[in-house]
């Protein structure tokens, strides 16, 4: 199957798109053979999504052409792309929760006779599709009752129902457990074998290596590599993504935990709304100084509630019972500021929501939370000179780009925003570090850097509570691992004692 002889299912030629001063795509060429799974990989902001959104008709290219099955096409809206057989599953699903799976799938393309939806006709068709592609879905259940993996299947069926030949999946595994991920890829392989073409947007090297036939690497809006997956390896892909040599897995030396506990939580519970289950049930955990405790789990199983309860224990909406002890001091009734002053650093789960003042300059964001420290103020008056003197070397050390204190934090890229938060929090010389999703949306190169910093903090005697939805991160960093499921701790392991598979099963509640 030489690519020269076949007609590409999709071909992008020299796609270019500029947003303001940012050249998001600079002459992107991409050729996707029919009946293959084609990975599009790159760091955040590399231009993967921009290219795919142009292919899907969300916005037009400034320059360049799109060919589908060898024919030049111009889209005016996604409807044109759908009509030409191109479908996209977005990272955040577009489903109406209370509606049944059936209604969600046909929504917008209902078979109608005399103004009445012909559900029977739709059902017959869907059952056929679901059999043909091996995608089991209970069509009568309302979508919100179904697990995320099944919701994703519904999104895929939605595309098949509209006769999509090319399926674009944007970071499809971000919300899935490892088991669900495996099932998804089984389905994708089956779809491919039935003649569909699949474009997989991802930043996870492992998925590309395991499940794709072909891979295209993007960096800074340009294609930096294209090859059959069989002819490459993760290290090469990572280097192409970052543009320099990266260390993929941080080697974490064994922990030397000290005797005293940095954090101790006992009997922590948070009642849900009347009638619903508890959001947190009898959480008991302890983090020693000099060790990293990883909390694994699928998003939405009580991790955010746990963090809020530890940081704002005196607020009744965060905690209904139980106690929290930090560095040997019972802080259960303390306000947040006093807790932070004990030497608690926090990398929040969502840097934009909880970590930054987006409209304010980098310098003020660096100050946030440290404004009362004697290093930056005296008698209530801020020392802007000292702030500058401390912030400049810090953003240098933590590689926040650009090296500019006056620009608003919102203008930084996601990875640089995260590095800014990390730089600030490490100024506290933490004795307890609470790191939630510390590398969410961060480039491969920056992940390495942040992981190293966390290990360094640990070796400096800090206790680290790490909450992450990324199994790799949990497995790499944690000295001990606890699994959260539906607001409970359901399992605990030591480093090296647990396989990814076993962890995944626990995360899924079995």
């Amino acid at each position: 199957m030489s690519p020269v002889e076949t007609t590409a299912a999709v071909e992008l030629c020299g796609l270019t798109k500029q947003f303001g001063n940012v050249l998001a795509n600079a002459g992107v060429n991409l050729r996707v053979e029919p009946g293959t799974i084609h990975g599009v990989i790159g760091e955040n902001g590399a231009g993967k999504s921009t290219a795919m959104k142009m292919l899907y008709g969300i916005f037009p290219p400034d320059a360049g052409e799109i060919f589908v099955n060898g024919q030049k096409r111009v889209w005016h809206s996604p409807a044109d792309a759908i009509a030409a057989g191109i479908g996209m599953v977005h990272q955040h699903f577009m489903l109406a929760g209370p509606y049944t799976a059936l209604d969600n799938i046909v929504l917008g393309a209902e078979p109608v006779r005399l103004g009445v939806i012909e559900r029977k006709k739709a059902r017959t068709r869907l059952e056929e599709l679901s059999r043909q592609y091996g995608l089991p879905v209970d069509l009568n259940r309302s979508v919100e009752e179904l697990p995320v993996g099944v919701q994703q299947r519904i999104e895929i069926l939605k595309l098949l129902y509209r006769d999509a030949k090319v399926l674009i999946l944007d970071e499809p595994t971000a919300v899935l457990t490892p088991q669900e991920t495996n099932i998804l890829f089984q389905h994708l392989k089956m779809l491919r074998d039935e003649g569909k073409t699949i474009i997989l947007i991802t930043h996870k090297l492992r998925e590309v290596m395991a499940f794709t036939d072909h891979v295209t690497v993007l960096r800074a809006g340009k294609v930096t590599g294209e090859m059959p997956t069989a002819q490459t390896n993760p290290q090469e892909l990572a280097n192409l993504m970052v543009g320099r040599k990266v260390v993929l897995t941080v080697d974490v030396p064994a922990a030397q935990p000290r005797g005293e506990a940095a954090l101790e939580v006992t009997g922590l519970s948070l009642a849900g709304a009347a009638g619903s289950r508890h959001k947190l049930t009898d959480i008991r955990l302890s983090v020693k100084r000099g060790e990293i405790l990883g909390i694994a789990g699928v998003e939405g199983n009580g991790q955010s509630e746990l963090l809020q309860a530890i940081l704002h224990p005196h607020e009744p909406r965060c905690r209904t019972s139980g106690s929290v002890t930090v560095l040997g001091v019972d802080i259960t009734l303390w306000p947040a500021a006093k807790i932070r002053d004990l030497g608690v650093a926090v990398i929040p789960q969502d840097r934009q929501q909880e970590g930054l003042l987006l409209a304010r300059p980098v310098s003020e964001n660096f100050l946030l939370g440290l404004q009362r420290s004697p290093a930056f103020s005296r008698a209530g008056i801020l020392s802007l000179g000292k702030l500058r003197a401390a912030a400049l070397p810090a953003i240098e050390e933590y590689d926040v780009r650009p090296r500019e204190l006056a620009i608003p934090a919102g203008k930084l890229s996601g990875g640089n925003q995260q590095k800014l938060v990390v730089a600030r929090e490490f100024q506290r010389k933490p004795r307890l570090l609470i790191a939630a999703q510390p590398t969410r949306g961060v480039d491969v190169g920056a992940i390495e850097f942040i992981h190293n910093r966390i290990v360094l903090a640990r070796d400096g005697g800090a206790g680290v509570l790490l909450v992450s939805f990324e199994l790799d991160e949990i497995l790499t960093l944690s000295d001990r691992i606890m699994v959260m499921y539906e607001g409970r701790i359901v399992a605990e392991f030591r480093r090296g004692e647990v396989s990814e598979r076993e962890l995944g099963l626990k995360m899924a509640g079995s």
Partner: protein
């Protein structure tokens, strides 16, 4: 640079729009503009009156701008300034024998304190009970008006007049009036207002408390996560705002009337919203915008007398158009920012 130029430009556009409106009313816009200018700045007296109106607008503009920086919308400056002025007059009427300079300081503190209390109430309600400050400040405006009527008419009524006003304050309470302004009641309250604006600038941009207030206004979740007590900052911002509005009483009671007169304020509190908006919620901008609105207030007062068709209402339309074009300008830059991102 554009940050400063844009509101000025917008104000000019609004003025032009308003003047073209007077053309529809049957006046020569150029003629109207000249009357406006002459009436606001034509003589020492006119300038004095313009600055006299500017003084309370600086205070109320700040009283809106400070809470705005903390993410709150203070519609209650009118009530806060009413009680501030009433408190200053009450102190002066009850203890008339206190000598200068203790007396004005005492009355000024009373004005500040009364406003502070009236501002802190909605701040506290927002922080602890979550009820919205817009609703509460509006309602407190009515309560303040009621209290002021009761105190003026029943407790401190001036026996020598039919006017609804309190007994005069003691002579030691009166502050210096500038003589160069040809009889306009321009007093040292104006320099006080400018100094206070400077202090507010220092508070907002150079102190820990100001930084924490602004952090709450920018992103409450992030501020809370950083250990800032958002509720306390809200109460503080509203209390301070109330105090600032209360200081209107210094100019009115100690620098002008020597007593509290019911209805003395031509809604300085609500004009303060426009002043803060035009001044971008920055102290320097507030002072400049207060000057503009002071001049407009003085200028349009004479339009009614000196032209045939431009009545008081038309001059209100003129002010409204300036406010609209300024806020539309804000809308415009917001839309451009959105288009960029």
């Amino acid at each position: 640079m554009r940050r400063f130029l844009q509101p000025i430009l917008a104000a000019a556009v609004g003025l032009a729009l308003g003047l073209s409106f007077t053309w529809f009313a049957g006046e020569n816009p150029w003629h109207v503009l000249r009357i406006l200018g002459k009436s606001a700045f034509g003589s020492g007296y006119d300038i004095g009156m313009t600055l006299f109106y500017t003084t309370p607008l600086i205070f109320t503009g700040l009283a809106v701008a400070v809470p705005f920086q903390a993410g709150l919308f203070n519609i209650g400056a009118e009530g806060q300034l009413t009680l501030g002025a009433l408190a200053a007059a009450a102190v002066g009427a009850v203890c008339p024998a206190v000598p200068w300079p203790v007396a004005p300081v005492m009355a000024g503190l009373a004005a500040f304190l009364a406003g502070t209390i009236w501002g802190a109430i909605p701040g506290w309600l927002r922080a602890k009970r979550g009820s919205h400050e817009v609703i509460n400040t509006i309602m407190l405006n009515f309560i303040a008006a009621g209290i002021a009527s009761y105190v003026t008419l029943y407790l401190l009524k001036n026996p020598d007049t039919q006017n609804p006003e309190t007994r005069p304050v003691g002579a030691g309470y009166l502050i210096h009036q500038f003589t160069m302004s040809g009889g306009a009641p321009l007093s040292t309250a104006l320099p006080l207002a400018i100094v206070v604006a400077g202090l507010v600038w220092i508070l907002l941009w150079r102190t820990v408390v100001g930084f924490e207030m602004r952090a709450v206004g920018q992103n409450e979740a992030a501020a809370r996560a950083a250990g800032i007590d958002a509720g306390r900052m809200r109460i503080l911002a509203m209390a301070l705002a109330g105090g600032l509005a209360g200081l209107v009483g210094v100019g009115e009671v100690l620098g002008n009337a020597g007593k509290f007169r019911l209805g003395f304020s031509p809604e300085y509190g609500f004009m303060g919203i426009a002043v803060a908006l035009l001044g971008r919620n920055q102290p320097v901008g507030v002072v400049a915008a207060a000057l503009l609105f002071g001049a407009l207030h003085k200028g349009t007062a004479d339009l009614d007398l000196e032209t045939e068709h431009v009545t008081r209402e038309v001059s209100l339309i003129l002010q409204a158009l300036i406010i609209l074009s300024v806020s539309a300008e804000g809308l415009w830059s917001w839309m451009r920012k959105r288009a960029e991102s």
